[in-house]
């Protein structure tokens, strides 16, 4: 399988690569448009800030390429948020693959920290992406903005309020948590994406 990880100005790409290696899978890390288009599957990872990342993608024509991919695409954390329509983070228009909006957590009391950092549960799991993953499994999150619930929600997490921890539309999948850092459950989810045909 020709697996490509999209390289852009966002962190954690190495972690995704290493997680794939632990599963015995090699991937190519690239921002080359033709290589991405020719891949069997594409992973769009990222930790960072939405507007900076969108500018980077637009400057290189990656925005149009990603939107029009026909093969399975897996967005992780910021990657998933960038696949949404809009992010409140610096008022950023995003790729618009998912209609869901990305909003800032607004804590209801001082004990709730933003960003959310740590392990939280995922529930209402509705996708092959979660095959073999139990309801209310724990995964690792680091984020200050969240995708609201919507028609493409395939997993729900609670922090301040329920939100989309995973989205799916056609060939596009996204998760807010970091499967590459979520122990065995995370590895199962990555494997499930690799198994999607």
């Amino acid at each position: 399988m020709n697996l490509v990880i999209i390289q852009y100005n966002a962190g954690n790409i190495q972690s995704v690569l290493y997680a794939l290696e632990r599963l015995g899978v090699q991937a190519t890390v690239t921002d080359n448009l033709e290589t991405i288009q020719a891949a069997d599957k594409v992973i769009f990872p990222g930790v960072g800030e939405a507007s900076t990342a969108m500018h980077y993608l637009q400057d290189r024509g990656l925005d149009k390429v990603i939107k029009n991919l026909q093969q399975p695409v897996f967005g992780i954390c910021l990657g998933m948020q960038l696949m949404c329509a809009y992010s409140e983070e610096n008022d950023t228009a995003c790729l618009g693959i998912f209609e869901e909006q990305v909003k800032l957590f607004k804590p209801t009391d001082a004990t709730i920290k933003v960003p959310q950092i740590g392990w939280n549960t995922i529930g209402n799991l509705k996708s092959n992406l979660f095959k073999g993953v139990k309801e209310e499994s724990y995964t690792y999150f680091v984020h200050g903005y969240y995708a609201a619930l919507g028609q493409h929600t395939i997993g729900t997490t609670n922090y301040v309020q329920p939100y989309s921890c995973a989205l799916h539309k056609d060939n596009f999948y996204g998760v807010q948590f970091h499967p590459e850092k979520s122990a065995k459950e995370g590895e199962q989810i990555i494997q499930n994406f690799l198994n999607i045909s």
């Binding site: 962190g11 954690n12 190495q14 972690s15 290493y18 997680a19 290696e21 632990r22 930790v47 960072g48 800030e49 804590p107 001082a110 004990t111 920290k113 933003v114 960003p115 959310q116 950092i117 740590g118 392990w119 939280n120 549960t121 724990y138 690792y140 999150f141 680091v142 984020h143 609670n158 922090y159 970091h178 590459e180 850092k181 979520s182 122990a183 065995k184 995370g186 590895e187």
Partner: protein
């Protein structure tokens, strides 16, 4: 529900863990990669690797070690010790560290916090504070591994650092560290209640009840310990069961 985190800390010197001894389950407890993988398997929520290597030359091996750890371990980990420049941070993150921690260097030049947060994101910048309660009942910041006192109050420094962009605070009480008499609940709670970032409590954890206390009275988001895990005085699966049964949100 977001869970409280249990974090074993591994001190690294010249590429080896300093305190790790005597685990039957693993071949070489001095090997940080094996020990880290063991803790991950046991249910640790994150790991901290603190490099206490004295010389800069030997620190160069740290990035190679971090790379090996990142290949092996499937939970997040933080690397600290002697980090001063963007280049230091960049090398560690590129080799697979999820977060870095800064201490003395950030105190001497707080602008590095701002620069690290801007370049790499607040989520990967952890501020470690060595704190000591003095006779005047105030908590002061100490530097250089606790050898050098400053006149700065811990609460002031923590607030300034959060404003500059740190994403988490790792608070070690020098009064409690090594005592196994429990964590510093008052200063931990004071920071936890006044700051918008997670607080990792460190120093003094000696039994399961101490962890319960620091998550309830201490308002901590995470608790870190070293020797009690290394010497098997507290086993992580037992600790997590204990906390979960007492109603603390814990990943089992």
């Amino acid at each position: 529900m977001l869970t409280k985190r249990i974090i074993p800390c591994l001190d690294i010197k010249d590429g080896r863990t300093v305190k790790g001894i005597n685990f039957e389950q693993i071949r070489d407890a001095g090997d940080p990669i094996e020990l880290g993988a063991f803790y991950a398997e046991q249910g640790a929520d994150e790991l901290v690797f603190l490099d206490i290597t004295a010389t800069v030359e030997k620190r160069k091996t740290l990035s190679e070690l971090v790379n090996k750890i990142a290949h092996k371990i499937n939970i997040p980990f933080t690397v600290g010790g002697g980090i001063k420049t963007e280049e230091d941070v960049s090398v560690l993150l590129q080799n697979g560290a999820d977060k870095i921690s800064v201490n003395t260097a950030a105190f001497l030049d707080p602008t590095i916090i701002n620069r690290f947060a801007k370049n790499f994101g607040s989520q990967c910048v952890v501020l470690a504070i060595d704190a000591k309660c003095e006779a005047d009942n105030n908590w002061y910041v100490y530097l250089n591994g606790g050898r050098e006192k400053t006149e700065k109050l811990v609460t002031e420094w923590a607030k300034e650092a959060v404003d500059l962009g740190v994403g988490e605070i790792l608070l070690t009480s020098m009064n409690h560290d090594g005592t196994k008499q429990g964590f510093a609940l008052d200063i931990t709670a004071q920071l936890g209640e006044s700051l918008p970032v997670p607080i990792i409590a460190s120093g003094g954890g000696g039994n399961e009840q101490h962890f319960y206390d620091v998550f309830t009275q201490g308002k901590a988001d995470a608790a870190l310990a070293a020797s009690i895990f290394h010497y098997k005085e507290v086993a992580i699966p037992d600790l997590k069961q204990f906390l979960s049964k007492k109603g603390i949100p814990i990943r089992l």
